[in-house]
């Protein structure tokens, strides 16, 4: 029933204005029809609210960045600012560095992510579930805190691993130096590989085993099956994931700032920060931001094209029914590989921070005389600055999360329950902040709101705007997907039984959306609580957040305190993440939780409708 389907998904049935019996009859939907569709006043008002909100959060600041790049010193319009790109060698070098870091990180992520995906999905390696879950955990872990851990491990002078290796092999100098581009790539690849791993393993999961069995039954060797059937199916996931890694690593701030600073190695976001420091050269920052925005937007559009048509997860067949490859003795190699990834990405850096948080002095060797259980923590929490930062971060994370949820609810209601040509724009616009590096959005917010008439520079309000805007894509993805699974029919059923639009929304729609709302809310809280990329631009000394405090402690090389504060942030992260997983794992009517589900499913795919 193609007809009934299309009708179902596009009914303006959830329209409160229908309550007025004298309202005008709705016309046909807009389109080629000569008659225009007359949307109701409520619908139009909601659309307007959405447009204004998005303009304030994202549109206006980004427009300001574009505008500023064309403003001359005397206030007139000019293209001459773009000449700066050629005349300032540090700008070009930063761009070159970004590309180089990004390419290296893509390769590194593939080297880590592809074998991990294959091992965990398609082989009989032990502990597959554990390794899969740990990849998700990596993603939830803050990369700049990991970088701090690696500074302690592989710093050229005092790095714990370096000294251990030196004494073990009698080396005269440290074998590794984390303060190099290679070090940056190493840390980034270990942090970003889930962007390749997750889609590829989902694609592997989704392959209908019949596809491969059919090829095998026609006489194809295992290698030929892999090449002609398996690989083409996962290729879109692989390419799309690689593009995401490329974009993320080219514009990531934290790890690069921490690891690049000692040698003056700068990429795009760090050079942007130095441009914004006193005396600020906003027009130069704007000039470098514009081409970057354009390139990233183009890359993400390509990525979306690749992902768009085909959903890896629903290629067909039931997941988990594939024939597993028997690795034999190779299982130990596989486990060793996966374990190494977990150790390198999680255990070592964060363990090191934990250890450091109990050390009295960095210079002295580990030992009981260098142990203090609470010393560093007391030091950290004794400072009013840090207490204030904690309060600010909590407030901002909760505020940003709630506001983003509200905007996302409004947007997905518009998309799913109203019918207008412009609905496609909403989906694109809600995802757009993905294309704005935190640095660029931060600069845009400063241009837009820091000065009069708004005068928000350095306030909590400007941070809240920043957090809300940056939380939109993820929030919307969850809420939109959740809403998409709530067929219009479940709402129509309620209305035909006598419930008003408001009651239907309260009793049916929101309760059904609860898993999506929870998932989006908790994840956002985790990500916003430790937000660094924008905060570091917006921070003027007045309203610290935990991330900016941590960043400043690191720049002052106060690593015991860095360790203590990192541990606290990580604990909060972990607790919230665990709560999220627990809550998401529950279905109505089930008193006991089901057998432990794959956590990657819980966190990364919006939960399926409980039906």
């Amino acid at each position: 029933m193609t007809l009934s389907r299309s009708a179902t998904s596009t009914v303006p049935g959830a329209d409160p204005r229908e309550g007025s019996a004298s309202g005008p009859a709705g016309g046909p939907p807009s389109g080629r029809a000569p008659r225009r569709r007359r949307s109701t006043g409520f619908e139009r008002a909601m659309r307007l609210v959405w447009v204004l909100t998005l303009l304030a959060l994202v549109g206006y600041p980004i427009a300001q960045v574009f505008g500023q790049s064309f403003v001359a010193d005397d206030g007139g319009l000019t293209l001459s600012n773009y000449g700066l790109l050629a005349s300032e060698p540090q700008l070009l070098e930063a761009i070159r560095n970004s590309v180089w870091i990004a390419c290296g990180t893509v390769l590194g992520s593939l080297v880590v992510g592809l074998p991990l995906a294959w091992f965990t999905v398609r082989t009989d390696m032990p502990m597959r579930r554990f390794f899969r879950g740990s990849a998700v955990l990596t993603f939830a872990a803050p990369s700049f805190i990991a970088a701090l851990g690696w500074v302690l491990l592989l710093g050229p002078r005092n790095g714990v691993l370096n000294t251990a290796l030196m004494s073990l092999f009698g080396l005269g100098e440290s074998p590794f130096n984390i303060f190099t581009p290679w070090g940056i790539i190493f840390v980034l690849a270990l942090f970003l590989y889930p962007l390749v791993f997750l889609p590829v393993s989902a694609a592997l999961d989704g392959i209908d085993p019949a596809l491969e069995q059919a090829a095998a039954s026609l006489g194809a060797s295992r290698w030929r099956v892999l090449r002609t059937v398996t690989f083409p199916v996962i290729a879109p996931a692989l390419i799309a994931g690689s593009i995401l890694v490329f974009v993320s690593s080219a514009i990531i701030f934290g790890p690069v700032a921490i690891l690049g600073a000692p040698t003056g190695f700068q990429t795009i976001p760090t050079v942007l920060l130095s441009l914004m420091q006193f005396p600020p050269r906003i027009e130069v920052a704007a000039v470098i931001s514009v081409p970057i925005l354009v390139i990233i937007a183009a890359l993400l559009l390509i990525q979306r094209k690749i992902v768009g048509g085909r959903k890896f997860t629903v290629i067909g067949g039931k997941p988990g029914r594939q024939d597993l490859t028997h690795l034999g003795a190779g299982r130990y190699v596989a486990v060793a590989f996966c374990a190494a990834v977990v150790v390198l990405s999680l255990v070592l850096p964060f363990g090191m921070l934990l250890v450091t948080s109990f050390r009295k002095a960095l210079g002295r060797p580990l030992g009981w005389d260098n142990f203090t259980l609470t010393g560093n923590y007391e030091e950290v929490f004794g400072r009013p600055l840090i207490a204030a930062a904690m309060g600010n971060s909590f407030l901002l994370a909760i505020g940003g999360t709630v506001l983003a949820l509200a905007v996302a609810l409004l947007a997905s209601w518009l998309v799913h329950r109203t019918k207008a040509r412009s609905n496609a724009v909403i989906v694109g616009a809600m995802a757009a902040p993905l294309a704005f590096p935190g640095a660029v959005l931060g600069i845009g917010l400063i241009i837009a709101y820091a000065a009069q008439p708004f005068g928000l520079g350095g306030t909590l309000t400007i941070l809240l705007i920043a957090y809300t805007g940056s939380a939109l894509p993820l929030t919307f993805a969850y809420v939109h997907a959740g809403m998409g699974q709530i067929g219009a029919e479940v709402e129509e059923a309620s209305r035909s039984l006598g419930a008003s639009w408001a009651r239907t929304w309260r009793r049916i729609t929101v309760p059904l959306l609860r898993p999506s709302l929870l998932a989006a809310g908790l994840l956002n809280f985790v990500l916003l609580f430790r937000e660094l990329e924008m905060s570091v631009f917006l921070y003027t000394g007045a309203n610290p957040t935990v991330a900016t405090v941590l960043y400043n402690l690191a720049s002052e090389s106060l690593y015991q305190r860095v360790g203590a504060l990192s541990v606290v942030i990580l604990l909060i992260n972990i607790v919230v993440t665990v709560i999220a997983m627990r809550l998401l794992d529950r279905k109505p009517g089930e008193s006991t939780r089901r057998s432990r589900r794959d956590p990657s499913v819980a966190l990364n795919t919006p939960p399926e409708e409980a039906a």
Binding site: L3, S4, A7, V11, G13, G19, P24, A25, G589
Partner: protein
Amino acid sequence: MTHLVLSGLTKSFGAAPVVDQVDLTIEEGEAVVLLGPSGCGKTTCLRMIAGFERPDAGEIRLRDKVLAGPRMFIPPERRQMSVVFQSYALWPHLSVRENVGYGPTTAKVSRPEVRRRTDEALAMVQLDGLADRYAHQLSGGQQQRVALARALVNDPALLLLDEPLSNLDTRLREEMRSEIKRIHRSLGVTMVYVTHDQAEALSLADRLVVMHAGRIVQVGAPEEVYRRPRTGFVARALGATNLLPATVCGPPSADGVPLRLPGGITVTAPRSADVALQAGDEVSVSIRPVDLRLTSGSAGAAGGARVSEALFFGDHVQYAVDLPGLAEPLKATGPSLGRFDAGQDVVVEVDGTAVAIVSDGPGASVPGRDDHRPGPSATGGATPAPAPARRSAA
């Protein structure tokens, strides 16, 4: 007593009209089935009655109240209609009891009364013991029963069912079909039922409405529509049939219209109300496969033909028969005792009362029909799948 009136009901999506000037009157207590292929507008009709779509033009009246019309639109929650959806649309976060009790609870009925009515509705659909389960713990058939109970508990002015059985397997579908029939009989609720399955349509309808391309093409009692389809489209919509060219070979009389069919068969068919005929006119006729009788005979006689294919189904046999003068083989159904084999010569006999003169030719297309499960069922032996058009090697 007249219950629901649709007059001039029209709705377009984009440029194409989906429902086009539909007029229909439904009596109190009646079960009306809208039958048609996908895209014929039957579901949109139902959704306009429910209040999920606004008509572009026309009027919907319930008793003497206008539900939708020019400058008038009553929202679904004030129409007292219950809808049973194809997807069941049960709320997964509520238990069976809460699902069924939703209507009365919304209407602020007292708690014990809600409970009483819920129990009663659940008993009606024979789900007494499952009140505390959740939808995902029920089978498809049980879910559909809950959806039915949820709709009935509100004592609706009109029960609307949108392809309620098409997500069920054949056996359950038959079971639920008789269940719905039983409930309709015992409650006497007025019912509008949308389906593309002719077995459901014929067995459930008091009155059958066949729709095509947004318009009603025929309305009548199921048997009447089945026996006397007005067009080739309607004939096919209600099951397998042979659409044949025929010539009026004498003046029509009170007894009927004398016709010569291909192969030299002559019959006297009942008169068609629509078409005024005279001798020599070319017409199309519809003859159901069960109404063709095959007897053994030689190739020379009138109606002499050769069996090109015989498919054995246990209780009956489906034949494809090559009749001289026809490009397509005839479809015929016969008893499995005394069956014929492919290649055998037979004589085709037709009872004139089984011949329906239709107003369009055999070429009349039935868009979309082949997209669906044909839905033949053991009880509906009269609806065999079309025989393959393969010609015999002879």
